[in-house]
């Protein structure tokens, strides 16, 4: 090595002890920074996390627009007759669906997509690193098992909801612009869809919905992470079979379906608990619209015992996954 380094080494020898103490104090990286790099690392490895949802949004948007254009002749007629009947009525750019319900349907399809992406990610998150032996590399760096597992849990709980939000908002913006453009084409103001589907309010409602859904689904993701850290192979089977078997045993031996309905409520549940409206209105149409933000009721949601029970289960699963990651060796 060259001379300057040797010089520093001599001075290091002089007050060796103090130097080491100072070096140790300086040589820590804040846990938040470790978490940040760990999450970035997950995104590098799993690009489908942030490319998948926008891609699906793009496909949905394409389908919606293509359908509207394909039905052009019919729409032409409908729009004209609608305007003739009631000039204040929103033009039927999307056939019989209003832009509001179309927004809701596409948003829900994307939320389901993101749920599937998150679940698949969790199944592989702690298993893949053991399968390809890269866990030995990760463990050679000063990142604790807790930080690692938390960074992986942050993907479905924080990152994916944000990706979903951005994708849905982007998709809806495009749909609104398209509707406005069509209406302008037919000599209307083009402002109507923006009042039918108020953009910023919908974005806020969506954010609220995604946040509550993430909390509601947290035990599912945590369970998948736990299975991923525990199982050597057939992770999906280990994740799905035990709850199903438990539900079946409960049904056969006790004749009850408490656990089964718990599972169903957890998987399909929360919107009814989170939002004051019914997804299916009295006429059988889908119209998940709220008129003002004050209708949102986070207090009811946050005081649900089922929510806190689920979060406690999630915390237990995460703790077990951390414990297992320390012990697990490459497969």
């Amino acid at each position: 090595m060259n001379m300057p380094t040797n010089d520093t080494r001599v001075s290091r020898d002089d007050d060796f002890a103090t130097h080491r103490v100072a070096a140790t104090a300086a040589a820590t990286i804040a846990p938040l920074k470790l978490l940040y790099w760990s999450v970035r690392r997950e995104l590098w490895e799993n690009r489908s996390l942030y490319l998948g949802p926008p891609l699906v949004a793009g496909v949905l948007l394409f389908a919606v627009v293509a359908n509207a254009i394909y039905d052009g002749g019919k729409a032409d007629h409908l729009i004209n007759s609608a305007i003739a009947l009631d000039p204040t009525r929103e033009a039927a750019v999307f056939g019989s669906l209003t832009i509001g319900s179309l927004s809701a349907i596409t948003a829900m399809m994307l939320i389901i997509t993101v749920f599937i992406v998150g679940a698949l990610y969790c199944l592989d998150a702690l298993n893949g690193e053991r399968r390809d032996r890269s866990i030995l590399f990760w463990k050679s760096l000063p990142v604790s098992d807790l930080i690692t597992v938390l960074s992986k849990a942050a993907i479905p709980l924080v990152v994916l909801p944000l990706v979903a939000l951005a994708s849905i908002v982007g998709m809806h913006l495009c749909m609104l612009v398209f509707t406005s453009a069509v209406q302008l084409l037919y000599g209307q103001s083009g402002a109507l869809p923006w009042t039918r589907a108020p953009f910023f309010q919908n974005a806020l409602v969506l954010l609220y919905g995604l946040a509550t859904l993430a909390l509601w689904h947290a035990p599912i993701y945590a369970w998948l992470l736990l299975v991923s850290s525990w199982a050597k192979r057939s992770v999906l089977l280990w994740a799905v079979l035990p709850p199903l078997v438990l539900a079946a045993i409960e049904g056969i031996t006790l004749g009850k379906s408490y656990f089964a309905s718990l599972l169903a409520h957890r998987l399909g549940g929360s919107p009814a608990d989170v939002f004051p409206f019914k997804m299916i209105d009295s006429k059988g149409g889908i119209s998940p619209q709220i008129s003002s933000l004050s209708e949102l009721d986070p207090l009811t949601f946050l005081t649900m015992p089922a929510l806190w029970g689920g979060l406690a289960f999630a915390a237990a699963c995460i703790a077990a996954a951390v414990w297992l990651r320390r012990r697990r060796e490459p497969i």
Binding site: E45, R133, F137, S140
Partner: protein, 294 residues
């Protein structure tokens, strides 16, 4: 100051004892070669030292309990496990970014300097690199970490002889500074002999030899003997004998060089030859003692 201190370190998998209560004391500033046959317990011992697997007994590495404080320990320790374990999806630039992000003692400029000496393109992903290149990349990352303890478990596996030589030279010249401690295991014993300060033989989960190289050179001697003197040499109790070109080479433990000089030219044995002698004897001894017991 002791870098690694172990008392009665044990690990067993079911009935199979991988580490049979070993005692270790490795001081700061040493380059220790841990030599043993396959399945001797080398990797088990290193995994315990690195906090990768649980163990019984007492173990302190740089003042930490490796099992409970692995993440703290890894600020001062770097290691390469016995196989190429860099994630295949990772790009070279991402590897640099990530290690720089999480490691307080990583010198990115230094890593880039080491990388520049190789033919690894910085845009490539590990998947696209040859096995040798992937190992090179890993070594570049590890050598740019200002660690107090470096553990290398078969670091040059799959590398050609040119790079192996270059690696050990670089380890000695660019990395080692007499305060760092290096523990290395390898099957290519002769290639590391000149860089080691200490050597340890491990067999069946036990340390069978633990010696500094100075002591090694004083203690062991090898002499090439003409056939007519072979019987006389044999009577002095060599620990090993082998035939080369019709002559016998005897390996002595604890004989002075002066008394051996009468038989022929005396020299320091290679670690590999001593290893064959010591471990080979162990195996025949256990076989014969088993025979007696039966």
């Amino acid at each position: 100051m002791a870098c690694i201190h172990a008392r009665g370190l044990r690990r067993h998998y079911g009935k199979n004892v991988a580490l049979d209560g070993i005692d270790l004391n490795i001081n700061e500033g040493r380059i220790v070669g841990l030599i043993g046959p396959n399945g001797a317990g080398k990797s088990t011992a290193l995994n315990a030292i690195l906090g990768l697997s649980p163990y019984e007994g007492e173990l302190t590495v740089l003042g930490h309990n490796p099992w409970t404080a692995r993440d703290q320990l890894m600020r001062d320790v770097s290691f390469i496990a016995d196989v190429a374990v860099l994630p295949r999806w990772m790009r070279v630039s991402q590897a640099l970014d990530y290690v720089a992000g999480v490691h307080p003692r990583f010198d990115r400029a230094k890593a880039a300097k080491f990388l520049a000496k190789t033919s690894i393109p910085s845009t490539a992903s590990v998947r696209e690199l040859s096995k040798g290149m992937a190992v090179q990349l890993h070594l570049c990352l590890i050598m740019a970490i200002d660690a107090k303890l470096l553990v290398l478990d078969e670091p040059t596996l799959g590398l050609d002889i040119l790079y192996r030589k270059q690696f050990y030279d670089s380890l000695l010249n660019d990395y080692f500074d007499h305060q760092r401690t290096i523990v290395v295991t390898t099957h290519q014993v002769e290639e590391v002999q000149h860089i080691l300060t200490d050597v340890m033989f491990i067999n069946r989960g036990r340390i069978v030899l633990d010696s500094s190289m100075e002591h090694f050179e004083q203690r062991f001697a090898e002499v090439m003997v003409h056939p007519e003197q072979a019987a006389a040499a044999r009577s002095r109790g060599p620990i090993h004998e082998r035939q080369v070109f019709g002559r016998s080479i005897f390996l002595f433990d604890g004989a002075t060089r002066d008394e051996l000089a009468a038989f022929g030219e005396v020299r320091t044995p290679g670690i590999a030859d001593l290893f064959v002698a010591v471990i080979g004897n162990e195996i025949t001894e256990t076989k014969s003692s088993k025979g007696v017991a039966a």
